[in-house]
């Protein structure tokens, strides 16, 4: 499988990274090299093997359904590029 310019642009768009045509073109051979190399995994016989989901067997804990933190609105907003009236501000999304 090899990817073309259109695919690179589509991946960039899915990744929410804007790229110029020149950048996208430069990425075609780069990404193809990497993808071509990882494709060797296809030759491994994995029949009957479950995909690994945890490296160290560790049961996910449950805790009581109770509030453990909060009341830190200003801290949460402290690093926002734009915060107004206690909210994150973003460009208009709904016309």
């Amino acid at each position: 499988m090899s990817i073309d310019l259109q695919t690179v642009k589509k991946i960039a768009s899915l990744s929410r990274i804007s790229v110029t045509d020149a950048e996208a073109e430069a990425m075609v051979p780069e990404l193809n090299n990497i993808l071509g190399w990882v494709e060797q995994l296809g030759e491994v016989d994995v029949s009957g093997v479950e995909p690994m989901t945890a490296v160290i067997p560790n049961k996910l804990r449950l805790r009581e359904d109770a509030v453990t933190d909060g009341d830190v609105r200003d801290k949460v907003l402290a690093n926002a590029p734009q915060a107004e009236h206690g909210f994150f501000a973003v460009p208009k999304v709904i016309e």
């Binding site: 499988m1 990817i3 695919t7 690179v8 991946i11 960039a12 768009s13 899915l14 990744s15 929410r16 990274i17 804007s18 790229v19 990425m27 780069e30 990404l31 090299n33 990497i34 993808l35 190399w37 990882v38 494709e39 060797q40 995994l41 296809g42 491994v44 994995v46 093997v49 479950e50 995909p51 690994m52 989901t53 945890a54 490296v55 160290i56 560790n58 996910l60 804990r61 805790r63 830190v72 801290k75 949460v76 402290a78 690093n79 926002a80 590029p81 734009q82 994150f88 973003v90 460009p91 208009k92 999304v93």
Partner: protein, 494 residues
């Protein structure tokens, strides 16, 4: 008079307690070394006042006869991947430039609570993605080491914890934190002639560490001796309810139980780690390592880890996949940079912000990750990689039925010249060939210096242990350390 910056963590701790010197004297000495080493570019932010503040608190506590923390009087460096309250935390990215956390990571908090002081935030590869510290937005870190014979070429300190390794080797700090996703503690340790341990996945809380690949990321210490690593790891480890993968286990007394007597231990030599064309000096060091472990009483046998050659491609599917998901949070809304071109809508703002804030290697990995997780390719790439990962892990399990530890080289070469491998991402990825398998299996693994190559550059050995058995890893590390007698240090040029 003793040069305070030549002391190990244990020597500083004990000397301070014995009254040989004050904590303030130690902090001032390291602050001075940090300030005089700008040429190495090991720090993104220097915090001499934090080091002094902790030192003064330690001195006061000692004068008042109060109980001293395990690291009272010891200043350290903090990799700039750990969120530090009130001190800029960037992950060496433009994206997080100016980000000042309003909270403290669990691991750094444990260190400060134990009395350690912060000398500064250490440079690294951007978002910990790199093996040479050449992807930092804040410039390359330079290794204090140089090749012999008047060759002044700037060398890589390894990555991603390259600021940590460079600073320790140059005596800017006695120890530092690192993080290891595919070798980011061990490979830089090997490149700079120091030690570092990645503990079992889950030992150190990931809470407050800027995430790269969550199923692989583990914090660990880096220092010049095995004992110092044991000391720091004890403080850094422990259950944290804020990390869902944190191991709910007591922290062993690794330092108190250090022993280089390996009688009764079996050490495996994985034959797949000796590929055709393995650097002859690395192969020779490995053979010396085998002799050292035998001398320490261990029995050495050959073992097989048949899926080793697939570890690196597996890693370069799984790590980018997790990164693409983790780094989706950088959207220009909640923290970090925002780029809002004129008339841009929300989606345009995301794309412009991410184009501005991420460096080329980070973009490359996010895009690879996005691709392998995308509809139609998920099973062929990601699911397949997770299955191969299970096989790699099973290889280790089967080997550990027969042996207690594994001994391998840490990296396939000594440090290389900055720029040498930058043009080819694949050549750079191959640096992690010996460190990635243990990461995929979540196993504790340690790098210890073994000697110098013919160019005068350090080479390291790696010890891999069973899950939760950091003690055996540290003990074997100590056995090597005692026998290698590695005392070489870079000649000061900076």
């Amino acid at each position: 008079m003793t040069n305070l910056t030549d002391l190990t963590v244990a020597e500083i701790r004990d000397g301070f307690r014995a009254g040989d010197f004050s904590a303030r004297e130690v902090a001032e000495a390291f602050n001075a070394n940090v300030a005089a080493a700008k040429a190495l570019n090991a720090f993104i932010v220097e915090t001499p006042e934090k080091a002094l503040e902790a030192a003064d608190a330690a001195d006061r506590a000692k004068a008042a006869g109060e109980t001293l923390g395990a690291l009272a009087g010891v200043p350290i460096g903090m990799k700039d991947l750990f969120c530090t309250e009130g001190v800029q935390t960037t992950a060496a990215s433009h994206m997080l430039e100016g980000f000042t956390p309003t909270y403290e990571s669990t691991v750094s908090k444990k260190l400060w609570d134990a009395g350690a002081g912060m000398l500064g935030k250490l440079n690294l590869d951007q978002f910990a993605m790199g093996s040479s510290n050449e992807t930092s937005y804040f410039g390359n870190v330079i290794s204090p080491w140089r090749r012999g014979g008047g060759d002044n070429a700037a060398l890589a300190p390894g990555g991603s914890s390259g600021g940590s390794s460079s600073a320790i080797a140059a005596r800017l700090c006695p120890a530092a934190t690192g993080t290891d996703t595919g070798g980011s503690i061990r490979q830089p340790a090997a490149f700079t002639g120091i030690s570092g341990i990645k503990p079992t996945y889950g030992r150190c809380s990931r809470w407050g560490i800027v995430a790269f690949a969550s199923s692989l990321d583990q914090a660990g210490p880096m220092a010049r001796t095995v004992r110092d690593n044991a000391i720091l790891l004890e403080t850094m480890s422990g259950f944290d309810p804020k990390d869902s993968t944190s191991l709910d286990l007591p922290v062993p007394q690794w330092e108190a139980n250090l022993s280089s007597d390996l009688k009764g231990k079996k050490v495996g030599i994985p034959k797949e780690y000796r590929p055709d064309g393995l650097n002859a000096e690395i192969a020779a060091l490995w053979d010396r390592g085998i002799e050292w472990l035998k001398d320490a009483g261990a029995e050495v046998v050959e073992v097989s880890l048949p899926h080793t050659k697939y570890a690196l491609p597996t890693y370069y599917i799984i790590a980018p996949a997790e990164a693409s998901s983790n780094l989706a949070r950088y959207d220009g809304v909640r923290y970090g940079q925002r780029d809002l071109p004129d008339g841009a809508g929300l989606q345009d703002m995301y794309a412009a912000t991410r184009a501005l804030g991420f460096g080329p290697e980070v973009k490359r990995r996010i895009m690879i990750g996005t691709y392998v997780l995308s509809a139609g390719f998920y099973d062929a790439y990601y699911t397949q990689a997770q299955k191969v990962r299970a096989l790699i892990s099973r290889d280790f399990e089967q080997a550990f039925d027969k042996v207690d530890l594994l001994l391998t080289p840490t990296a396939p070469s000594a440090s290389f010249t900055l720029g040498e491998k930058q043009a080819d991402p694949l050549a750079m990825y191959l640096n992690d060939v010996f460190t990635v398998p243990a990461s995929l299996a979540g196993l504790p693994a340690m790098a210890v210096p073994g000697g110098l190559d013919s160019q005068g550059l350090p080479l390291g050995l790696q010890i891999i242990g069973k899950p939760m058995d950091e003690q055996s890893v540290l003990n074997a590390g100590l056995a090597i350390e005692e026998r290698a007698g590695f005392t070489a240090r870079p000649e000061k040029w900076w």
